[in-house]
């Protein structure tokens, strides 16, 4: 049985639809990331699951039990707030113990479980501190401990890493994964950061204006984006528009060459189609390709940006389009103004639905 099941969940705020008939299934022990821009409805979904909002339509089932009639305090889910929402008037110990007190856990067991939870997030020795005496990373871990100590079936995380310094984010991300495995709880994380979502989650779902446009393992969603939005949101793919030919190729005037994706295009000849091409799948060499080449375009390097391990070049194709190309910096960046030929493997071309 799935851990959480959302069926046709809809929620409106005034005239705007925050969620528009959303279906979603989350397996037990799964780490799921909801990815979307601001206003995509991702936080609304978390708040619906936690019980702070009521859906206008649809059902939310936790292990088959309908959640909607239950008030927040009766739901076996815990939420970690983006602001962490630590109680400022309580010590670290009392913050973590709060949920156990409400559940009437006896004093001795309470102490033991708080100690366990603090050990899990490596905060031993800080029990007597107050939230304002902690660093941002420590606060985040108190919030995690406070949510995990009540042993929720499902933990909701609202932008768990957003408030941390860039340096802490990666390390904390790995810890989050380890915690999720250690506790076996289902994690649903909401984020606008695609790198974070792909790094942490077993599956990601991309939300656009209240609808899930694509759900799948990070690699699959990244390699085979379903729509323009997903292609642009995850890693900034190049979009190339063209017309389908009778032999299954795509005439792309803006690239100035014939595109031939590995997968069938699935459209009649003459139909317009858009293909996504990841910047790091494009190869770059100097010199000119033959004019009738397939999956190979000629152009001029317009800009080069060094980004550490990768360098990104903007190449203006002879057909008019500008492609982003990311290559390992170790390969040596092309010079600005150089004439180059871009090639890519057929399987790097993803056919978009829109």
């Amino acid at each position: 049985m799935s851990l959480l099941r959302a069926e046709g969940v809809a929620k409106r705020f005034g005239a705007t639809a925050a969620l528009d008939g959303l279906d979603l299934e989350i397996a037990p022990g799964e780490f799921f990331a909801l990815l979307g821009g601001s206003g995509s409805g991702k936080t609304t979904l978390l708040r619906l699951i936690a019980g702070f909002e009521t859906p206008d339509a649809g059902r939310l089932l936790l292990e088959g039990r309908d959640l909607v009639p239950l008030p927040p305090h009766a739901r076996p889910v815990a939420m970690m707030f983006q602001s962490y929402a630590l109680f400022p008037h309580l010590s670290v110990f009392d913050n973590v113990a709060y949920g156990l007190r409400r559940a009437g856990v006896p004093r001795e067991e309470r102490r033991r479980r708080v100690a366990e939870a603090l050990a899990l997030v490596r905060l031993e020795g800080l029990e007597r501190r107050r939230p304002h005496q902690l660093s941002g990373g420590q606060r985040q871990r108190v919030a995690l401990a406070r949510s995990l100590v009540v042993r929720p079936r499902l933990l909701l995380l609202d932008e768990p890493l957003a408030a941390l310094d860039a340096g802490l984010r990666e390390a904390t991300g790995f810890e989050l994964r380890a915690l999720q495995r250690a506790t076996g709880a289902g994690f649903v994380m909401v984020t606008h950061d695609q790198a974070e979502a792909m790094a942490l989650a077993d599956r990601i779902g991309v939300l656009e204006r209240g609808r899930l446009v694509q759900v799948g393992p990070p690699a699959a969603v990244y390699e085979r984006p379903a729509t323009r939005f997903v292609a642009a949101f995850l890693g900034g793919a190049n979009l190339l528009a063209g017309l389908v030919r009778a032999d299954g190729g795509v005439d792309c005037a803006e690239a100035g060459c014939l595109l031939r994706p590995a997968a069938p295009v699935g459209r009649p000849a003459g139909a317009p189609v858009t293909l996504a091409l990841r910047p790091e799948r494009v190869r770059l060499r100097s010199g000119e390709a033959p004019a009738d080449a397939v999956n190979a375009a000629r152009g001029t390097v317009a800009e080069v940006a060094f980004r550490g391990e990768l360098s990104t070049a903007l190449v203006r194709l002879d057909g008019g389009a500008t492609l982003r190309v990311s290559r390992p910096s170790a390969e040596g960046a092309p010079a600005r103004g150089a004439r180059v030929t871009l090639t890519w493997p057929a399987e790097a071309l993803a056919v978009l639905a829109d």
């Binding site: 019980g51 008030p71 305090h73 939420m79 400022p88 949920g99 107050r130």
Partner: protein
């Protein structure tokens, strides 16, 4: 001395010179309050023997304490509703009515309360006559307006997700209020109480309208004595009040600073 420094001293003098003079002349031996007649404590002795004045002062303190408590209860609930209940029907009207005593001239509030008390007594026999109780109710009305504003402001800046976090961890709305919201509101409750207490202690307009024979507060006594001519006894009373107020405010500031320090200035 720079111009800014001179301005500061001018300002301080403007604010505190009257108080300093009031206290200084309390120790003057002369009968006329504005004439120095050598150091003496005779007016403090006279004050200690002035039962009418002491009685009025004690009544004022009791009325102020009662009015402040009632004001914090009523105003606190109103402030909570305004800050937490979202855009309910009639919210704007409710907010305007709560704040009305802040902008209405006190004579208008006083007169309307007097009419209300008289009409109520005629209709249901309560409040029976006018006195300390009616003064207390009038002061609570005014104090509640201030309390509502103070408490609403504090709640509005408090993070709403704290209460949600409490409920998420298994607290019913009432328990979340008791264990999270109330402790966070406590400093504003204290501030509102002190504000309402002070308002009540020095009010003469409302009290003049709604008081009766058994409800003569300290400001009313002082005001009536002003017509007969003051003695430095009043200065002595003023000195005592200033001393008590200074100590009380100092303690309150200390308490608030400690509470705030514990919460990291939240």
């Amino acid at each position: 001395m720079s111009a800014a420094r001179a301005g500061l001293w001018l300002g301080l003098g403007f604010l505190y010179l009257p108080i300093v003079l009031l206290v200084a002349y309390a120790f003057s031996a002369d009968r006329i309050p504005f004439q120095w007649g050598g150091f003496s404590l005779r007016w403090f002795v006279a004050l200690a023997g002035d039962e009418r004045l002491i009685e009025a002062a004690l009544l004022s303190l009791r009325v102020a304490a009662g009015a402040a408590t009632l004001a914090v209860l009523v105003g606190g609930l109103a402030g909570f509703a305004l800050a937490r209940f979202g855009p309910f029907r009639g919210r704007a009207l409710f907010g305007a009515l709560i704040g009305a005593p802040l902008v209405l001239p006190e004579v208008v509030t006083g007169l309307s309360l007097l009419l209300l008390f008289v009409a109520l007594e005629g209709a249901i026999g309560w409040p029976a006559g006018r006195g300390a109780l009616t003064v207390l109710l009038a002061h609570a009305t005014l104090g509640a307006a201030y309390a509502a504003v103070v408490i609403q402001a504090r709640l509005a800046e408090a993070d709403r997700s704290l209460e949600e976090a409490a409920m998420d961890l298994g607290a019913t709305p009432f328990v979340a209020f008791r264990t999270v919201t109330l402790p966070l509101m406590a400093p504003s409750l204290l501030a509102a109480w002190l504000l309402a207490f002070t308002l009540s202690l020095d009010d003469v307009v409302l009290a003049s309208f709604v008081s009766g024979p058994a409800g003569t507060t300290l400001p009313m006594v002082l005001f009536s004595r002003l017509k007969l001519g003051l003695t430095p006894e009043v200065n002595a009373l003023g000195a005592v009040i200033v001393a008590v107020a200074a100590v009380a405010l100092g303690l309150a500031a200390l308490l608030l600073a400690r509470v705030d320090a514990r919460r990291g200035g939240g």
